[in-house]
Symmetry: C2
Subunit: 197 residues, 2 copies
DNA sequence: CGTAGGAGATGACGAATGTCATCTCGGTGG
DNA sequence: CCACCGAGATGACATTCGTCATCTCCTACG
């Protein structure tokens, strides 16, 4: 019997997936949590064989959670096929990555693969991640762009990052260039779509 | 028996919710679609009692679908509690509005209410919609801001809207002021969070 | 030791943005 | 008929952005 921990912020989804997985003879959902920052405690308590993580969660996002659980068998389940998500997940030791528009069979199959020590990456997501390559942004460019994405002005970004305003403009400028965008807003959109911020 | 049509783009979610609803004695899921633009045809074919619509769907979003089905009993199911969504839904004659982090019981209850001709609005969402009031933006301001949100420059927006660049700047400026934002990007974020664009 | 390279700062400059006051021109209501 | 109002246009102006070339440290590395 494969013991599964389910982490997803939407109760209906969590409950529904738990029900579906419960129909599989060899899978048992032993715990459910609705926040990223509750996963670690639940893992410690229930010692699941496989942890199924949503990326978008309050408290702590699924990728950060994954990074904090080395050695644990994990599978990421996400709505958004952002290439950057897959990269971060793989870097964190996650062996399964599946979109929410997969079928229940695929999910169950992926859980079994991951439990057996194998990998399961959604083929389409893997392909788009390959196509996209990895983020061309440096850490600083990413930080500056992420703050800009929240509506911060150059002055505010400079304050938050302890940089001069000119430097911030330089970073944003080079991020815009690297992303092939025409302005800050387009750069933000691209970076978000790719999962780079 | 309440005949339900389920429209949601994520197969796993759709399948899972269908399974959950199937456990209810008086509810039967008679059809499922994964795209907004397939809902009308499916409704014509299956004549469901209640249509459950996700807001975020490819092809056509759930709110637009709702507006195109006057008289049909509908229930909106969404991840995002954007106040503007609720308003649009109510204006389109939708009588049920429920977040994806509700429980299956609540969903089933809401479906029964809507089928019986009643209303079910998630209390929390209704409250935040009341707090937020309705969009302060004029149509033009909204259009301009929506295009800006996609990364368009003032020149491009002016072209798309058949306005002069100065007028576009005026609209954007007044949108920024009305939303209490410091710049275009912050205005975009606010408007998106509220479901106003 | 010497030096290449990266992070950050600076200054300059043109282009885009944000803000205002003002003007035009079709309605619309009295 | 006329005053009024709202959508849109215009022009002007101060900022803020986006871009570049250049300069300073600091660090890794041969």
């Amino acid at each position: 019997m494969i013991r599964v921990l389910l982490a997803d912020d939407e109760q209906l989804i969590r409950q529904a997936i738990a029900t579906l997985l419960g129909l599989e003879a060899d899978i048992a959902v032993v715990a459910q949590v609705g926040r990223g920052d509750q996963v670690a405690a639940a893992v410690a308590e229930h010692r699941p064989d496989v942890v199924v993580l949503d990326v978008e969660m309050p408290g702590m996002d699924g990728l950060t959670v994954a990074e904090s659980l080395p050695g644990q068998a994990m599978l990421i389940l996400t709505s958004f096929g952002r290439p950057g998500y897959l990269r971060r997940a793989l870097a964190a030791g996650v062996r399964g990555f599946i979109p929410k528009d997969a079928s229940a069979d695929e999910l169950a199959g992926a859980i079994r693969k991951v439990h057996a020590g194998g990998r399961y990456l959604d083929p389409e997501m893997a392909a788009s991640a390959m196509m996209a390559g990895e983020s061309p942004l440096t850490d600083r460019e990413r930080d500056a762009l992420a703050l800009a994405a929240r509506g911060a002005s150059v002055t505010e970004i400079a304050g938050a990052l302890h940089l001069s305003e000119g430097t911030v403009r330089n970073y944003l400028s080079s991020a815009i260039t690297k992303l092939g965008a025409g302005n800050r807003i387009a750069a933000i959109r691209t970076a978000q779509d790719m999962g780079w911020i």
